[in-house]
């Protein structure tokens, strides 16, 4: 009937061409986008940053390799997703964190938050954030010891060194109704450039924005999540600041401090754990921003970004279900 004219043809369902992107290239793009923040962290925190990043990335990759072998699955480390998780986890750690804890956080992030569900694409929660929250709750002291930074004192001319983060100061001093320091254009510029302490990756807003621009260019993230996230933070902060300027700082402060920029552009936009419809992404971002401010202003922790994103990750299946676009040919006259 059909003799073999030449080697067997490959037969597959349509389409037979492809846009060319792959999971590996996306993960590489995210890594490249993280490089500016990494460079600033190395420059700002020196050896500690290098140590932590190396420990986290290698621990994550090793944990993934071992987990995949135990689960007798293909060694999935070639898609660099473990490297991304390691980098993002390191960016969420204080520079002085001991390496042992960083390894523990990495193992929890990769095994408990990702591989136990079957690997990349099945995890409902952002692995790096699970690792960070696990460490924050297990080792509260080590996770909240920071490096020093020069504080613009309330009265001009006075300079002081402190190891508390801008948000930490806000939480403690505002408790007694005292404004920790004046927050003006110069301080805002100082915070934006990165002259403050905090976790490795969240210090320099400028570096994060550079990375985010690259991600937009490579179409790895959509604008809905970051814009609504930062918008919600700014909106809530603005309302509170208007109502009671004595006890609240302006919205620019809340956007430039803590993990908002890192969270909005890199953590909340993680493809696997964010909604797939544009409307859903908007709700997701707004939810993250709102919860961040609720925890920061009324909650027990000085920083709420990690918890906010994790809680919104839990809501993603419901968001996806209720924000479906109107199918072509339905609705108006369908």
């Amino acid at each position: 009937m059909a003799e073999q004219t030449q080697p067997l043809y490959v037969v597959s369902p349509s389409p037979h061409i492809h846009a060319g992107d792959s999971v590996r290239r996306i993960m590489l793009a995210v890594i490249v986008a993280l490089l500016p923040a990494l460079a600033w962290a190395l420059w700002r925190f020196g050896w500690n940053a290098a140590r932590l990043v190396a420990v986290c990335v290698s621990a994550c990759v090793l944990a993934e390799w071992v987990a995949r072998r135990l689960m007798r699955r293909d060694a999935g480390i070639d898609d660099f997703s473990a490297v991304v998780t390691g980098l993002l986890l390191a960016f969420n750690l204080p520079p002085s964190l001991p390496s042992g804890m960083a390894v523990a956080g990495s193992v929890v992030a990769i095994v408990a938050a990702k591989q136990v569900f079957g690997g990349l694409g099945y995890n409902p929660f952002n692995p790096a954030l699970i690792g960070r929250v696990f460490l924050l709750i297990s080792f509260p002291v080590q996770m909240t010891t920071w490096s020093e930074w020069r504080i613009p004192a309330p009265a001009p001319g006075l300079e002081a060194l402190t190891t508390a983060t801008p948000l930490g100061l806000l939480k403690t001093s505002l408790g007694q109704g005292v404004m920790p320091y004046r927050f003006d254009a110069a301080t805002a510029w100082q915070f934006f450039l990165g002259w403050k302490n905090g976790c490795l990756g969240e210090v320099s807003g400028l570096a994060l924005l550079l990375g985010a621009a690259y991600l937009f260019y490579r179409k790895c993230i959509y604008w809905q999540v970051p814009v609504f996230f930062i918008g919600a933070v700014a909106a809530v902060a603005a309302v509170l600041w208007k109502l009671d300027p004595a006890h609240h700082l302006p919205p620019l402060f809340h956007v430039l401090t803590g993990g908002v920029l890192l969270g909005a552009f890199f953590m909340a936009t993680d493809m696997v754990t964010s909604p797939i419809t544009r409307l859903g992404m908007a709700w997701f971002g707004a939810g993250c921003g709102l919860l961040t401010m609720v925890i920061r202003v009324w909650g027990g922790y000085p920083e709420g970004v990690s918890f906010a994103i994790l809680i919104m990750n839990a809501l993603v299946p419901l968001i996806n279900r209720y924000t479906r676009p109107r199918v072509f040919g339905h609705g108006r006259r369908g």
Partner: protein, 193 residues
Amino acid sequence: MTEYLLLILSAVLVNNFVLTRFLGICPFLGVSKKLPTALGMGLAVIFVMTSASVVTWALQAWVLDPLGLGYLQTIAFILVIATFVQFVELALKRHSPGLHRALGIYLPLITTNCCVLAVAVINVRNRYDLAHSAVFGFGAAAGFALALVIFTGLRERIERAAPPRAFRGTAIALVTAGLLSLAFMGFAGLVKM
């Protein structure tokens, strides 16, 4: 009025009965397969817990305390809760057999649901008056329903996941519930009780 609001807020978010106090885990795992069933279970639990709080408070204040029978608290409470659950089961069987069949064994199991008994006992221990008991009962049930609905959404997602053979089914559900409660810890200290 804000006091009641704070009470509800603390019962739903800060000390969520399922995610922070780890009560009512068996219906939480058993009924979280399909969203409509979970919603049905949530409403049933809200009805039972709110009414049980009121009646148990009355029982405690008017019967057990004056007669000094505090030690019979558990038996009396369970008696009342069982009656409410049986009442709900008969009503559901009559008015929505679909939901009744979907909830299956988990409807009568509300009797043994530790959330219901816990809310009654907490009301008594915290010396809440009638209004506070009812509000706290409603808040606790709302917290349970919220956690159940969120978890059902997650459960439908991880049904499609491919965990290793040892983790399939309830094991992966428990891991997810653990991570969810980790996330809910963010609300710690939200309300200064």
